[in-house]
Amino acid sequence: MNKSWLIAAAVLCLAGTPAFAADEDTLTIGFTVSQTGALNLDSIAQLHGFEMWRDDVNAAGGIKAGSKHYKVRFVSYDDQSQPGRVQQLYTRLIVEDKAQFLFSPYSSGLVATATVISEQYGKLMMSIGGAEGKTYQLGNKFLFQTYTSADHYLSGAIELVKSKNASAKVALVYSDDPFSKAVAIAAREQAKQAGLQIVLDESYPPAQTDFSAIINKVVSSGADTLLGGGHYPDGATLARQLYDQKVNLKWATLLVAPDSPQFSSLGPAAQGISVPSQWAPQVKYKPDFGPTPVEFAKRFEAKYNIAPGYHAAGGYSGGMLFQHAIEQAGSIEPEKVAAELNKMDVTTLWGATKFSTDPKSHGLQLAHQMVLTQWQMKNGQLVKEVVWPLAAATAPVVYPYR
């Protein structure tokens, strides 16, 4: 047999070895990341949170379960922001890669898809980035939500607007995706209950690139408040066009996009825009375990050269919650870990966490609360400040926002 055949045989042998075969002292966590596609910015931020948690755990010797220590290993794939890919890849993670636990993908639509698979195979999945409440009301048994449900995303903004202008006219302009629609449905009711008038209620396709026509509708409606948006590309484009078209609004709260540190690249178009946030580095939670929000933010920035948004903090915290449950259970057996998650009632850098144990809404997040942050100009620099609730505020709200 000549040399080239030997090399080919060796390559085949190597290729045949599962790349991530689980060994005794390794805990394999599987998940998909939207490395590409519309959701990539937020999803990659979430991945950085996962990675930082993994590195911290492994540097400290791994997760302690009883007398054993387990090093954490990730298996992940790019889902391209596509539900179809998520379905294939979560099956692969479970069946071929033998992932013992799962993190969810980012965003409600993808979480809903991944949940079908994780429930089918009975795998515990920590949902980070899936805020739409509907997914958690289907009688799932193995899914646990870390985010505040989408129903509450705009509650703070509505309260704030009401406190400033009780007869505000609201334009509800939102992306036609499951998460944003769920937010809008709840906001519609909350705005009505708050006595605000909804003068425009309009959805747009998630891939919308030009908002001129929608903005003209906002102007025609006489709205002084805009609530809505979707994810990063559309939200950032909408913010820029609101600025370019000099829309005479007093307040604008957009979902998700303004939470990203990159939002400041819009320059003056970012100023005054607010975003409901699951977390902000300035929050003053006192964790039962793990780093404080300030410690986390400082270390994250040192590692990735960018301030963490809530996606990153959510990723890190999702890992910590799994770790805590395993340590409390003293075992990596799914039933025991699930039992610990079910009785969990803790505060971490993420804030309070408690999961519903009602069979109808099992895993739904009950305790976590959101804040509202606003981009403000400080010493010629755009910075994000917590403006609502007042008890958590780090700066007074700027209203009207421009």
Binding site: Q35, T36, G37, A38, N40, L41, I44, D176, E202, S203, Y204, P205, A207, Q208, T209, D210, S212, A213, I214, N216, K217, V219, S220, Y232, P233, A236, T237, R240, Q241, D244, Q245, K246, V247, N248, Q262, S265, L266, G267
Partner: protein
């Protein structure tokens, strides 16, 4: 009422840029019967060209357009010889697959280098505010630049020898060859021009809206609709088609949810294909 008018005017301004993108697509089809599926990627290339020239090198956004057009032309000529030339005269599926492959390669490369992060070119240009509605300076300027480029293209095609050669090849390649026109060079010139037009429209779009590596798909789809409205192979018709599409978008959106716009567009697309296969603005061919 003012809202509807504002929406229509804005639609026409932006629609003219769609027309510019479609002019490139239709020029390539008209001359060599190739449907260029890498058109969207080339629009994105124009966006990134403008981004780097204006943001990193500090060139004023509109001053960066001519270099983008020239670079687009050079890339187009190169692309023609690499991927398209051997497909000329073969079944249309071959060139369709070749340009689709180029598209996939370019998008894949772009995604590897830049990810799908949103890029923004800040352009500050005073707009016109009327009855509370603002027509942004970037939209007005985009329409003006589009008009200028379309005018230059007309002059090139009708007043210069290479332009006349392109039209001759489009009309009858064999006859053109018999008259001594170097058709291979002319085809590469036409492909380069088509790509330059795609890049120029991309650059103009980048002055108006933020973009990602994947933005080209949406504009390529619009280019197809515009091309059908204007008549395949008819650059002037494409410009009118773009304006018509913008007009349609402007007319539809005040009366129904924006989500319906693309539905209406593609219904019109199908109707025009069936009822006016030569396009709405292809007067010479309809005779």
């Amino acid at each position: 009422m003012f809202g509807i008018l504002a929406s229509i005017i804005d639609g026409v301004l932006v629609g003219s840029v769609y027309g510019l993108a479609a002019m490139g697509l239709t020029l390539i089809w008209g001359v060599m019967n190739v449907i260029n599926l890498s058109h969207g990627a080339m629009i994105v290339a124009g966006m990134f060209g403008l981004f780097y020239l204006s943001t990193l090198l500090g060139a004023p956004a509109y001053a960066a357009i001519p270099p983008v057009v020239v670079a687009g032309f050079a890339v187009g000529v190169g692309l023609y010889w690499i991927a398209v030339h051997r497909m000329i005269g073969r079944p249309p599926l071959m060139s369709l697959l070749a340009t689709f492959s180029v598209n996939m390669v370019l998008i894949g490369l772009g995604t590897t280098v830049w990810g799908t992060v949103l890029f923004n070119v800040p352009v500050s240009l005073p707009g016109i505010t009327w009855q509370g509605y603002t027509f942004t300076g970037t939209h007005i300027m985009a329409a003006v630049v589009t008009g200028a480029i379309a005018g230059l293209l007309y002059l090139f095609l009708y007043r210069t020898r290479p332009g006349k050669a392109i039209r001759a090849v489009a009309s009858n390649r064999e006859a053109a060859e018999l008259n001594g026109i170097p058709t291979r060079q002319v085809l590469s010139l036409a492909f380069g021009l088509g790509i330059a037009l795609a890049c120029s429209s991309g650059a103009l779009i980048a002055t108006m809206f933020p973009f990602t590596v994947l933005s080209g798909t949406a504009y390529q789809l619009k280019s197809f609709v515009v091309t059908v409205l204007g008549g395949l192979g008819n650059p002037a018709g494409a410009l009118f088609g773009g304006v018509a599409l913008g007009l349609l978008e402007g007319l539809v959106t005040p009366f129904m949810p924006v989500s319906w716009t693309s539905v209406i567009e593609f219904v019109v697309f199908v109707i025009v294909l069936i009822a006016f296969p030569a396009g709405l603005f292809n007067f010479s061919r309809r005779r």
